[in-house]
Amino acid sequence: MGNLDPLGLTRRSFVAVSSALFVVAALPQKIWAAALRPETAFQATTLEATFEALGGAPTVSDGIVFSTPDIAENGAVVPVRIEIDTSVLSDVSKIYVIVEKNPNPLAAVFQVPPNTQPYAETRVKVAQTGNLYAVAEANGQLYMMQRETKVTLGGCGG
């Protein structure tokens, strides 16, 4: 993986060139530049390769309050909510949602500038019963929390 400079900008790999950098409207206060879309991470097909693409294996942190249902009525829409207890884990700049057994585990990335609360809520597809990971990046370090969600064969099985 390329070297990570302070703004989290990965080395301009060939793949990254293809996606336009979102130009942020120039405004008087300090411009917060979003990092590029982590293409390699989105294309990774295993949990390990995904962590690798994001910058290495995260360490568990209970500063990540990760809510998912224990059992999902349908794997097509599984609500996930990530809150950060900033008293335990501060300066979180990115939040990743990862579904271990999906064809591509990385499902979503949320980048938050300093004055935004590190929080994210969405709904993801979970291919089969397995672990979901909420990964947070703070000061270049990766932290994670893991939860298992059971996906049942809904309906009458037909």
Partner: protein
């Protein structure tokens, strides 16, 4: 006698009206045709609320007919491969117009029964069958269970369980595998704890 005749007459007329309405309201799709709307005597007799009064004489006649129609497996081999049986029990497809008629039908046992205690997604329309093997494999128990699968009405007229054997839903081989899934000590039905 008139009263009985009247009851029989009225249920017959009503049954016909329902059939005619369904005939007008449905159409063939893929391999499923409207012939399926025609009721046999058992279906017609059982098309009433549980609370309805049951004509015991007719019920007994239907029960005997069901029992008589049961085909015991060749050389009385009741038990097949429980791993294949597990697949039959989990497969909810078969005989729907959305299914592939070339594929084997499923038994969908998990739809209504608890089987392997570790499997969370089970229904409760039927009793739990977890630990069924503890009943032992006496000839009587094997025959009872086989008959129940083949045509449950041999014991319980107007039961809601399909006639897996009598209606040709599952093959003899599939039934033997399901029986193994129920009886075999190595089957998760008997081995694993919740």
């Amino acid at each position: 006698m008139q009263l009985l005749a009247f009851i029989l007459f009225s249920t017959a007329v009503y049954a016909d009206e329902a059939y005619n309405v369904l005939l007008d309201s449905m159409k063939d799709k893929n391999f499923v045709t409207v012939e399926r709307l025609e009721q046999d005597e058992l279906q017609e007799f059982c098309s009433q609320p549980r609370s309805a009064s049951v004509d015991q004489a007719r019920a007994a006649k239907l029960r005997e007919a069901a029992l008589k129609g049961v085909l015991i497996p060749k050389d009385e081999r009741y038990l097949g491969d429980w791993q294949l049986g597990e697949k039959v029990a989990s497969n909810g497809r078969g005989l729907q117009y959305s299914d592939d008629p070339e594929q084997e039908n499923g038994g969908n046992c998990y739809a209504c029964h608890q089987l392997d205690p570790k499997e969370v997604a089970y229904g409760n329309l039927g009793p739990s069958l977890s630990g069924y093997g503890a009943r032992g494999q006496s000839a009587a128990m094997l025959q009872y269970t086989w008959t129940k699968l083949w045509n449950t009405h041999a014991y319980n007229v107007c039961s809601h369980m399909p006639r897996f054997g009598a209606a040709g839903i599952l093959t003899e081989k599939q039934l033997q595998d399901v029986m193994a899934f129920l009886f075999d000590p190595n089957s998760p039905v008997n081995r694993s704890q919740p």
